[in-house]
Every structure is written in structure tokens, then in C-alpha cells.
């Protein structure tokens, strides 16, 4: 059971940082065995160079065509974001996803695009999806989250998890080191202790009752 949650403010993390070093630096004196270090997925992506300025993306014809179909308030409604989705998952899978979505529309079922084209595409955040100075960037999902949490555990001796939490209570665990009870974790992170997208607290330490 947790005894408290400590949001940890960091410097502005960029692709010059190594996420494992950042976590060790800011949690080394606070987290101990039995605790859990939760890291927001967007900063992991940023350190991996996966925050991309839309003006640097050259959308092809397919991206320009397909971006007309998703919900306009979703993340793939711009040609630039759709182009990045195509590059992430490949043209054949995007085609299959788009076909599934078209068929799904006939029977009024939602979510078929991502079921077929790949869940990892749901992690793409379009502009304004994350905190300054990255609010002008499209942020892709992190690579190798499971490897990173194991590396954090090795370096800190503390269990770690990479999560995508939003303000409407959705908790998506992208990677969790082996000693973590994921059901408890979802409950403990549901109210988004990382704060809103304007706060500089991308790490939260869940302190456990000794």
C-alpha cells in the first residue's frame, strides 16, 4: 500500500538527456527499496529524440488523404501527424488499419484503425499535447519502455514504470519492472499525480508503507 506520492520537479528535459541518468539524479536520495518510480512517457520520448517539429515533416499524398478521416480533435488529423504514423507503422499496416476503420464505420464500431494499424499509434501526441517548450512538437511514443524500466531498476534498486496518464483517468502502462502489481498501480495513478501539462513534474515517486 502506498503511504504517499511525491511529484518530482526536474529541469527541462531535452534530447541531450539520458532518461535513466535523469531518474537516478532526481530520485537517488528519495526513493528506496519497496517504492515505485513512475516516469511520464512523453519525457522518455523527448530524450529519445522523438519530439518532432511539424515543419520538419514532409507529408506525402497518402498522409494528406488519410488525415481527413480520423476525429478532428484526435492526434492524426493533420497531414504531418499522419505522415509520422505512416513512418512508424509502415504503409501496408496503415492501409489495413484504414480499411478496418472504413468497415468499422459501416457497423458503427470505433477504434478499429488502432486495433489493426497498431496500438503504439495511440501514443502519438499532436501539437499542444505536452508541456513547454515542446508544445509545438508532435511527440511519438517511447521506444523500448520495458528495457528502460529494467535499466532504471538496475541503476537505482527501485521498481520503475513508464506510464501515459491523462486528466480523464486513463492510465496506460507502457513498461513496468517485474516486481510491480499493475492493478494497484493503475488505481494509484488514476488522478494524474503528474499534474497538468504545464507542470514540470515528469517523475512521481510512490512511497510504500514499510
Amino acid at each position: 500500500m502506498i503511504s504517499g506520492r511525491i511529484p518530482v520537479r526536474t529541469h527541462i528535459i531535452t534530447e541531450e538527456d539520458n532518461i535513466v541518468d535523469v531518474v537516478k539524479k532526481y530520485t537517488g536520495e528519495i526513493a528506496g527499496p519497496g517504492d515505485i518510480i513512475a516516469v511520464a512517457e512523453s519525457v522518455v520520448s523527448i530524450t529519445q529524440g522523438r519530439a518532432i517539429l511539424p515543419e520538419k515533416v514532409k507529408p506525402g499524398l497518402l498522409a494528406r488523404f488519410l488525415c481527413r478521416f480520423p476525429g478532428k480533435d484526435g492526434s492524426l488529423a493533420t497531414p504531418q501527424a499522419m505522415q509520422l504514423a505512416i513512418e512508424e507503422t509502415g504503409v501496408p499496416r496503415i492501409f489495413l488499419g484504414a480499411t478496418a476503420a472504413a468497415l468499422g464505420k459501416v457497423i458503427r464500431r470505433k477504434g478499429d484503425f488502432y486495433r489493426v494499424a497498431g496500438r503504439h499509434l495511440t501514443l502519438i501526441d499532436d501539437v499542444a499535447g505536452t508541456m513547454w517548450p515542446f508544445e509545438r512538437h508532435i511527440i511519438l511514443g517511447p521506444k523500448n519502455p520495458r528495457g528502460i524500466v529494467e535499466e532504471i531498476r538496475e541503476k537505482t534498486g527501485v521498481e520503475a514504470v513508464i506510464v501515459d496518464v491523462n486528466d480523464i483517468g486513463n492510465v496506460d502502462i507502457l513498461g513496468a519492472s517485474s516486481g510491480i502489481n499493475q492493478a494497484d498501480l493503475i488505481r494509484d495513478l488514476k488522478d494524474n499525480p503528474f499534474g497538468n501539462d504545464d507542470q514540470q513534474t515528469p517523475i512521481v515517486i510512490l512511497k510504500m508503507v514499510n
Binding site: 503511504s3 504517499g4 506520492r5 511525491i6 511529484p7 518530482v8 520537479r9 526536474t10 529541469h11 532526481y26 536520495e29 528519495i30 511539424p54 515543419e55 478532428k72 480533435d73 488529423a77 493533420t78 504531418q80 499532436d126 501539437v127 499542444a128 499535447g129 513547454w132 517548450p133 508544445e135 509545438r136 499534474g195 497538468n196 501539462d197 504545464d198 507542470q199 513534474t201 512511497k207
Partner: protein, 307 residues
């Protein structure tokens, strides 16, 4: 035996809160892994918290707040086991200090915002969301319409002004068509102190972006208000500053100062995306609010000089 670890400051944040009596405060919260000794003293235009027996776990330096009262908060580790937290304010403010236990421990400073109430008291401010009804205004490259997004920002601004004690009036609360004469008519009927049009810019070139303000021609007061609002809005949104221009509109307003704010450029791909975020609406409203506050504060200061 090893020395016991000193508590560490893990986060500092602030927000505007309301107490049961309806009074507003800026609450500054210092979170730490354990309790530490803390003494508050007034210094210049603000407050310094002297903390001893504590180490900064978070980066030292300044955090911009710009909430109308608190300008910024600065953390400095002054010696290995002591730190100073400086809360810089734009106006004088009474305060209280309390500590709550738990994990994390919270050292809480509440700063009174009554000075702002004095500045805004009974000020009639017309907040005019541009366009509406059959006139959509600018269009974003994906699907957003100026008339809809400016209404969201205008409502947020009205909320902030009301909380500060002003008497804001929205020219429209839904998707209604209004002529320029209708808008001027509302301002005259309400005997407005200030007219604020909320707009977005539209450009043929989708690479053009940024924030701008426009002021009624031949009205130095409008120009002053536009200057102050533009400055604060750019600071809050951190977008390109497209500057201040005059406009040949609202001449029927008589002596009422009139400003139009072009919050962002809706035809820019990225800035249309920003308009989808409620956080951006709030920041835009807060930036405009701060500028209006500075305008009234400057007016009050001038009156005092004249007296």
C-alpha cells in the same frame, strides 16, 4: 553511524484558490520529503521564505507564475543545509504560512489578492468574442473556426475578471450574429470602462504565426492598454509577437478605450493545434487579464500622482 538525511525540496507550485468566504488567495506550496524550519519575511515587493535543515532536490532558479499577483518564485540553496524561496509579487499582499504533514510535507503560503479586488472593483469590461452566427471568422487548416474558439477564451476571461471583482459583460454567450453597431451599443449601454475584442488572426500564408494587439486609432488610452495586454499575452503564450497596430473601428465608442486581441494565428497548423487545448485557452485568458490589470494599475498610479 551515518548522518541522518536532510529533507529535500521536491517541488514548488502555486495556484489561485478561493476560501469559504469567497476571498481569493495565491497559494504557494513547497513540497518536501520531511519537515524543515521555515521563517517568512517581507522583502521589497514580495516575500522570502528562509528554510533551514533542507536541501533542494529540484533545480535552483526562477519559475514564472504571472497569475496577476505573484510574478515568479525563485529557489536558491544558500548553504549546504539552507535554502531561500523568494516569492516576487506585483502588488503588496498580506500572507499566512502553515505546514501540513504527510508525504510529501507541504509548506503553504497563502497570499491575499485583495489589492487586485481594489483595482477591478466595479470596473465594467466588455468582453467581445469576435464574429458569430453566419460569420465564422478565420478558419484553421483542419477544422476550427475563430467564432467558436474566441468564445471559449472570452468565457474564461470573464470568469477571471469576475473573480477579481470586475463586472465583465459578454457581448454574446452563444453562436449569435452581431453587427459592429450591436457590439458598440452594448458597450455604450453598459457605460463600459474598457472594450476588449477577442479574435484570432488569419493569414494566407500558413507559416505566419503569433500574437498581436490592435487599438482604436487616435485613442492613447487604447494604445496603452493594447501595449500592456500584448506584453503579458506574449509572455504567457510564448508565441511570436506580431506587434501592435491601430484599427479604424469602434469610433462610436466615444471615450471608451478599445482593444482587439489576436490571440494566435488560426491559419497556422501548429497554432490551430494549440487552440484545441483548454490549458492554452486558460493561459490566453490569464495573459489578457494580467495586461488589463496592469492597465488599471497604471491608471490608479497616475491618479495618485495627480492627487
Amino acid at each position: 553511524m551515518s548522518e541522518p538525511k536532510l529533507p529535500r525540496i521536491t517541488n514548488i507550485w502555486s495556484k489561485v484558490v478561493e476560501n469559504e468566504a469567497g476571498s481569493l488567495f495565491t497559494r504557494v506550496v513547497v513540497e518536501s520529503t520531511g519537515p524543515f524550519a521555515c521563517h517568512a519575511r517581507a522583502q521589497g515587493g514580495g516575500l522570502v521564505l528562509e528554510a533551514s535543515g533542507v536541501v533542494a532536490n529540484m533545480p535552483e532558479g526562477s519559475m514564472d507564475v504571472s497569475d496577476g499577483l505573484v510574478r515568479e518564485i525563485t529557489l536558491a540553496q544558500t548553504c549546504p543545509d539552507a535554502a531561500e524561496i523568494t516569492i516576487a509579487t506585483d502588488h503588496p499582499a498580506g500572507y499566512d504560512l502553515a505546514v501540513t504533514g504527510g508525504i510529501p510535507v507541504r509548506t503553504v503560503v497563502n497570499l491575499e489578492r485583495s489589492f487586485l479586488h481594489g483595482l477591478f472593483r466595479d470596473k465594467k469590461i466588455i468582453v467581445d468574442p469576435g464574429h458569430g452566427g453566419a460569420d465564422p471568422g478565420g478558419r484553421g487548416p483542419v477544422n476550427l473556426l475563430e467564432k467558436n474558439v474566441v468564445l471559449l477564451i472570452a468565457k474564461e476571461l470573464k470568469r477571471l475578471l469576475e473573480k477579481a471583482g470586475a463586472k465583465p459583460v459578454l457581448t454574446r454567450t452563444g453562436d449569435e450574429s452581431l453587427t459592429s453597431a450591436d457590439r458598440v451599443g452594448i458597450a455604450k449601454k453598459e457605460k463600459a470602462d474598457l472594450f476588449l475584442g477577442i479574435h484570432t488572426h488569419a493569414a494566407k500564408d500558413c507559416k505566419v504565426g503569433g500574437t498581436a494587439v490592435r487599438y482604436r486609432v487616435n485613442s492613447p488610452e487604447s494604445s496603452d492598454a493594447a501595449e500592456l495586454i500584448g506584453e503579458e499575452l506574449v509572455k504567457k503564450l510564448k508565441l511570436a509577437d506580431r506587434g501592435k497596430k491601430e484599427m479604424h473601428k469602434y469610433t462610436g465608442l466615444g471615450s471608451v478605450p478599445a482593444v482587439e486581441v489576436e490571440v494566435v494565428t488560426i491559419t497556422n497548423w501548429v497554432e490551430e493545434g494549440l487552440l484545441r487545448s483548454p490549458t492554452v485557452h486558460k493561459k490566453a485568458a490569464q495573459g489578457i487579464f494580467n495586461g488589463v490589470k496592469n492597465y488599471f494599475a497604471a491608471g490608479t498610479a497616475q491618479k495618485q500622482v495627480k492627487v
